[in-house]
């Protein structure tokens, strides 16, 4: 089995042993060329594999034992499923003759992971192991990427079997389509050139297909402004003149207004998530919608699409560039396009992202800005889930793809630290910063031990607002300030905790201390926790209440009127 992994190009496995997989660990003992990183909880192995996969574009691999280890892993599998991240997860299983007998540490692993994976396998015969591993890796990275799970009964691992290694994977039932339909590409190119108020709406598919170069070329060629989803951050430089930054629930005013008023909306590797569209019938109501996606079931799932193009972003964008170059720009369109840019500039000027400065308490947005400045937008940024995640998306100035790691679809608190470990393991020389919340961080803080033991110098910045800030924000705005179950007293002492794990702990409470502390953190070679005590009343704005139209966004702490409006909308995380 290890030989199979090596042949697939695996160099790192994140895992945690147990009875059912001991034969593999025994083989690892003197196997050359594979690094094993021992995590402290299995979900962390899964998230670390996700971090590795997103950072490199290769398949991330994790290995855990049967029963409870597999159930612990499920959150990470579903996370990778929602965000289309290619990982292969191996779990141990009781010997085949005991399956179904409620044997020790037995769980119906493949039954449990079936809906949380792109595909899963139970190996029932040793000679199938090679072909299954080959298919698992193939399925994980091709088409719409996703997690694949391979369940390994212990007897299969013990018995000698001949290694069968097919040169090529041929599957009659799985053949993703990469090339967009030429006729549709031509139609799309014409619509883009005809458009007076076009917008490119760009998502995670551009990152996973490494299409950022093509995207930029197309945007500059056609002078179409670009907005990215939370998953698409880094696909287009935040500070490019054509950049509108993020759209959606916590997107910029100008991104949401541009999309709302667009006449042609080009969705590239994005899936019209409800956090992006708000109320669907009020999303880009006047636009002709072009949708490029490799997964046919993404197209017209939430919103009817006018020009569907099933294919790989990179190839289709290349096709679009060629098609646009061949077509002639329509005369009136260019003039109108100038007016469109002027309009967008006006929105940007009137409603930039902003917060109120304070000399006394640290504003969380300010911390992100300084991290962005001090790393020149070149660090690998990982987050937990909550307000800090949104501020990171809003205030970090992204310069490159595969440098932003966040749990978008599932919104998994606790994602930050283990994912950062995976990124750091993939890029030992890079600055990896986990911008986390005090709530989220606690869900996987045990991994500080892994960081220490495996020499993964991840830097964690805790945006510490003494509570579940995002929940607090919703209770404040939508539930009439009836705060319930959101306070996290300042426990544990994060500085002491860092030290207890053999790492470095720092704390700041005043704005003036922020820059020196970040500098100190960045120059420390060990893992660091920087505890930043911030203003706990700060909210993320703009905000579109769930179920509202994007143009109904709230821009500042709520007045009575906006509060009433918000109450009428549906709620939910």
């Amino acid at each position: 089995m290890l030989e199979c992994l090596k042949r697939e190009g695996v160099d790192i496995i994140f895992g945690l042993p147990g009875g059912a997989v001991l034969p593999i660990y025994d083989a690892l003992y003197d196997f050359e060329g594979l690094r094993h990183i021992l995590v402290r909880q299995e979900a962390a192995a899964g998230h670390a594999a996700e971090g590795y996969a997103r950072a490199t574009g290769k398949v991330g691999v994790c290995l855990v034992t049967s029963g409870p280890a597999c159930t612990n892993l499920v959150t990470a599998l579903q996370d990778a499923m929602m965000d289309s991240i290619p990982i292969v997860a191996f779990t141990g299983q009781v010997p085949t003759h005991l399956i179904g007998n409620d044997a020790f540490q037995e769980a119906d692993n493949v039954g449990i992971t079936r809906s949380a994976t792109k595909h899963n396998f139970l190996v029932k015969d040793g000679k199938d192991l090679g072909p299954i591993i080959r298919e698992a890796f193939h399925i994980a990275v091709t088409g719409r990427p996703g997690p694949v799970h391979v369940d390994l009964p212990k007897d299969i691992l013990v018995k000698e079997a001949e290694l069968i290694w097919p040169e090529k994977v041929v599957m009659r039932s799985y053949n993703p389509n990469y090339d967009g339909h030429p006729g549709q590409i031509k139609r799309a190119a014409k619509a883009m050139l005809r458009a007076k108020r076009p917008v490119l709406y760009v998502g995670g598919g551009v990152i996973s297909s490494n299409a950022n170069v093509e995207l930029r070329e197309l945007a500059e060629l056609t002078q179409i402004p670009v907005t990215t989803t939370l998953m698409g951050m880094g696909a287009f430089p935040s500070e490019h003149p054509l950049s509108l930054e993020m759209l959606g629930m916590h997107g910029t005013y100008y991104a949401n207004f541009a999309v709302h008023n667009s006449d042609v909306l080009v969705a590239v590797g994005a899936r019209f998530d409800d956090r992006v569209t708000g109320r669907v019938d009020a999303f880009a109501p006047g636009a002709e919608i072009i949708h490029i996606d490799i997964d046919p079931s993404s197209i017209s799932k939430n919103l009817k699409v006018d020009v569907p193009i099933v294919g790989d972003c990179r190839r289709v964008l290349r096709g679009l560039i060629d098609a646009v170059k061949q077509e002639k720009e329509e005369a009136g369109a260019l003039e109108a396009r100038r007016a469109w840019h002027a309009q967008i500039a006006e929105w940007k000027k009137a409603q930039p992202l902003r917060y109120e400065w304070s000399d006394d308490v640290i504003k969380p947005q300010y911390v992100i800005q300084e991290i962005s400045n001090l790393t020149r937008g070149n660090a690998m940024i990982v987050t937990g889930v909550g307000q800090h995640q949104m501020w990171a998306a809003q205030y970090y100035k992204f310069t490159q793809p595969r440098a932003w790691f966040t749990s978008g679809g599932l919104g998994t608190m606790g994602y930050g630290l283990p994912t950062a470990m995976g990124v750091q393991a993939a890029h030992p020389g890079k600055q990896v910063i986990n911008i986390d919340g005090d709530g989220s961080f606690q869900m996987n803080s045990q991994e500080m031990a892994t960081c220490f033991a495996e020499h993964l110098p991840v830097k964690t910045v805790i945006i510490n607002n003494a509570g579940h800030g995002m929940v607090r924000q919703w209770q404040r705005i939508i539930y009439k300030e009836r705060y319930c179950a959101i306070d996290l007293p300042q426990i544990p002492d994060w500085v002491k905790l860092a030290e207890a794990y053999g790492c470095v702990g720092l704390r700041v409470t005043k704005p003036a201390e922020v820059v020196p502390a970040i500098e100190k953190m960045l120059s420390t070679p060990a893992p660091v926790i920087l505890d930043v005590i911030v203003d706990k009343d700060e909210c993320v704005f703009p905000m579109v209440p769930a179920g509202g139209a994007n143009t109904d966004m709230i821009l500042a702490p709520p007045s009575r009127e906006t509060r009433e409006k918000a109450e009428k909308s549906q709620t939910g995380f």
């Binding site: 039954g111 079936r114 595909h119 039932s173 079931s297 799932k301």
Partner: protein, 192 residues
């Protein structure tokens, strides 16, 4: 069918799948996870033993059915998905009905069975088991006629369907449809 496809209606979807461990649970799981309603599902081997065919009857508007077919296709073990509803095809279902057979009703049951080409496959002093195949209209009509007599139990296989042949050979002219029993109460027999 409504003009814009917004009205829900029944679709018969024929799915070729790899005959592999767990494939049925993948398909069934897809329907429950996405909240689609399966009306019936039947599975069997095809000429190629490594391939099984599932015939699924699902109800939904066009939007739902489009997602159902795309999602089915997305399953790795699914080879081919074919919505037969608007193509020329033949559908059948097998049903077993155990009906009360008191002496005073025996003759009537047998007459009804004869008309419907149903066979009596088991007899006890107080019951008959009837077997018949047919399309939905016929089976429902038979059940309706037997209901007043007292049906003890009905077991249905779920629908199976076969296309009438390669599309190129299908006659384009719409053939006159035989009225179904549910359409025309005077029709009591079937030509099949």
């Amino acid at each position: 069918m409504s003009a814009n496809g917004a009205e829900p209606r029944k679709h018969t979807i024929s799915v070729l799948v790899e005959n592999k461990f767990g494939v049925l649970s993948r398909v069934a799981g897809l329907f429950s996870a996405r909240g689609y309603n399966i009306e019936s599902l039947s599975v069997g081997e095809t000429l190629d033993p490594s391939v099984s065919r599932m015939t699924i009857v699902v109800s939904g508007d066009e939007f739902v059915i489009e997602q159902v077919t795309k999602q089915l296709h997305k399953l790795i073990d699914v080879i081919k998905v074919n919505d037969l509803t608007d193509d020329s095809h033949v559908e059948r279902e097998l049903v077993l009905i155990r009906v009360n057979a008191e002496p005073q009703h025996r003759a009537e049951i047998l007459r009804t069975a004869d008309i419907f080409r149903a066979r009596v496959v088991d007899v006890t002093p107080v019951s008959f088991v009837l077997e018949t195949t047919g399309d939905e209209g016929k089976i429902e009509a038979l059940i309706e006629l037997l209901r007043p007599i007292g049906i003890q139990e009905v077991v249905r296989t779920g629908k199976i369907a076969i296309s009438r042949g390669p599309k190129s050979r299908v006659k384009r002219a719409p053939e006159a449809r035989r009225p179904r029993v549910s359409d025309d109460p005077r029709v009591v027999g079937f030509a099949d």
